[in-house]
């Protein structure tokens, strides 16, 4: 059972430890610095912590002693591009602006990890010491159609390494849809059939490249099953990324950022609805979690222990997590609220109401 909860905030990394009753603050790292994402190992010894320093760029630190000491690593970088104004080039040479996602590359390659950034995907085979741009994805013709959603450049924020085969990796991009490799990143194909973007002109709404999947997860126990919380809806896939079905039964709102899937049941997933896109706060000021247990046919709206009335907490895409039992959930908000549940979301307990804005929560 996970005994640490990692909370990435705008003002540092806060680590909480499980005690008899719930979660208590354990340590703080990088106090004052924006932490965009954290990746711990299962034993909590190796921890990667990505910072997004407003002036000085995206940075990456690693600890191999559970956070007692940290080493700054050279972060993923885009290759140098020679440009020629005379040649009429208009595309701005790319630079990594943010590390959005970090994922272990699979149990059969324990020193390897993937990094999703704005704007590209990188791979490290040496625990982050060196990084290589995934050029096949970057050079895919469809990639030129990616565009920013909430950021100027497209953001690669979800990386799903298939538990059946580490060479099979799916990524989600805002806005660039879902893309899949089955050979460890040598070749890629579009895997977003059925996703719908209502913000596009009518004849382009089903173009798989222009989709804005806010978050994507793969069921660990039923890996042919996937969930996406999209900019304008919830989508479920039950056929191993062949196609997506739009789920229209969720109450309150179809808009939101995060999705978490039950570790032992691909039909059970949690969502946090919000008033749609131009406003982005809990509908009617009431914070709720939507849970389905039947693949999206029906939902329950869970609100016990969550603020009801005058609430402006928004949960970002990495701000909702479930542990490996499926019982414990954690949720952190843009206004610094942190909650945990020990019974699958039926009841929530406030851990803190006044942290810095929370970008990500993660159990380990």
């Amino acid at each position: 059972m996970a005994d640490r909860l990692y909370v990435s905030t705008r003002k540092g990394l806060l680590v909480y430890a499980r005690d008899g009753k719930g979660w208590t603050h354990h340590t703080t790292h990088f106090l004052g610095s924006p932490v965009s994402i954290v990746l711990p190992s299962a034993d909590n010894k190796t921890i990667f912590c990505a910072l997004n320093l407003g002036h000085f760029g995206a940075k990456l630190h690693r600890s191999t002693d559970g956070g007692a000491t940290w080493t700054e690593l050279e972060p993923p970088k885009m290759p140098k591009v020679e440009t020629s104004v005379a040649a009429g080039e208009t595309e701005k040479p790319p630079t990594v602006n943010q590390l959005w996602s970090l994922a272990w590359a699979g149990p059969d390659r324990p020193d390897a990890l993937w990094a999703g950034t704005t704007p590209a995907l990188f791979y490290s085979k040496d625990l982050g010491a060196t990084w290589e741009l995934n050029e096949p994805l970057w050079n895919m013709p469809e990639r030129s159609k990616w565009f920013g959603g909430g950021t100027v450049d497209a953001a690669l924020h979800a990386i799903c390494v298939d538990p059946r085969n580490s060479d099979r990796v799916a990524i989600a991009v805002s806005c660039g849809g879902v893309t899949l490799t089955e050979d460890g990143g040598k070749t890629w194909r579009i895997a977003g059939k059925g996703l719908r973007a209502e913000y596009m002109p009518p004849d382009q709404q089903f173009d798989p490249i222009v989709q804005d999947p806010h978050m994507m997860v793969q069921s660990p126990s039923h890996p042919h099953m996937w969930w996406v919380q999209h900019h304008n809806g919830i989508f479920h896939c039950t056929n191993d990324l062949e196609s997506w079905d739009e789920i229209t039964t969720a109450p309150i709102s179809h808009f939101g950022f995060p999705v978490a899937v039950h570790p032992k049941d691909g039909n059970t997933a949690w969502f946090v609805p919000a008033k749609k896109d131009e406003h982005r706060y809990p509908v009617d000021g009431n914070m709720v979690v939507n849970r389905t247990k039947d693949g999206g046919k029906t939902f329950e709206t869970l609100r016990r222990g969550l603020p009801q009335g005058n609430c402006f907490d928004l949960i970002y895409r990495h701000g909702l997590a479930v542990d490996e039992t499926g019982n414990h959930l954690a949720m952190g908000s843009t206004t610094g609220g942190l909650w945990a549940s020990a019974n699958g979301g039926d009841d929530w307990a406030l851990i803190s109401a006044h942290l810095a804005p929370i970008y990500a929560v993660r159990f380990a």
Partner: protein, 88 residues
């Protein structure tokens, strides 16, 4: 030689005292500093070796806003590398 000062925000990677650096442009003097203090490079330059958007460079009291790296520097210049307020 020109004297290069770094913001205190970079104290953990940059020299805390002003350092002397050789060169006739901002790019030259920064390269000279980076050769001795490699960790500071990625904090000042982006992946394409441009001055980061929210880093401000002053040469002899003037905030250099365009063509920063090619701006001239003299042997008596004072160069300041600071955080631009646009970065938050």
């Amino acid at each position: 030689m020109a004297k290069v000062h770094f913001t205190s925000h970079l104290r953990h990677v940059a020299p805390s005292e002003p350092v002397e650096a050789a060169g006739s442009t901002v790019a030259d003097v920064l390269s000279d500093v980076f050769a001795r203090h490699p960790a500071v490079r990625g904090y000042v330059l982006d992946d394409q070796d441009r001055i980061r958007l929210h880093v401000a460079v002053f040469v002899d009291g003037t905030h250099v806003r365009r063509n920063i790296l090619s701006a001239p520097v003299t042997p008596t210049s004072e160069v300041y590398v600071l955080q631009a307020l646009s970065g938050g």
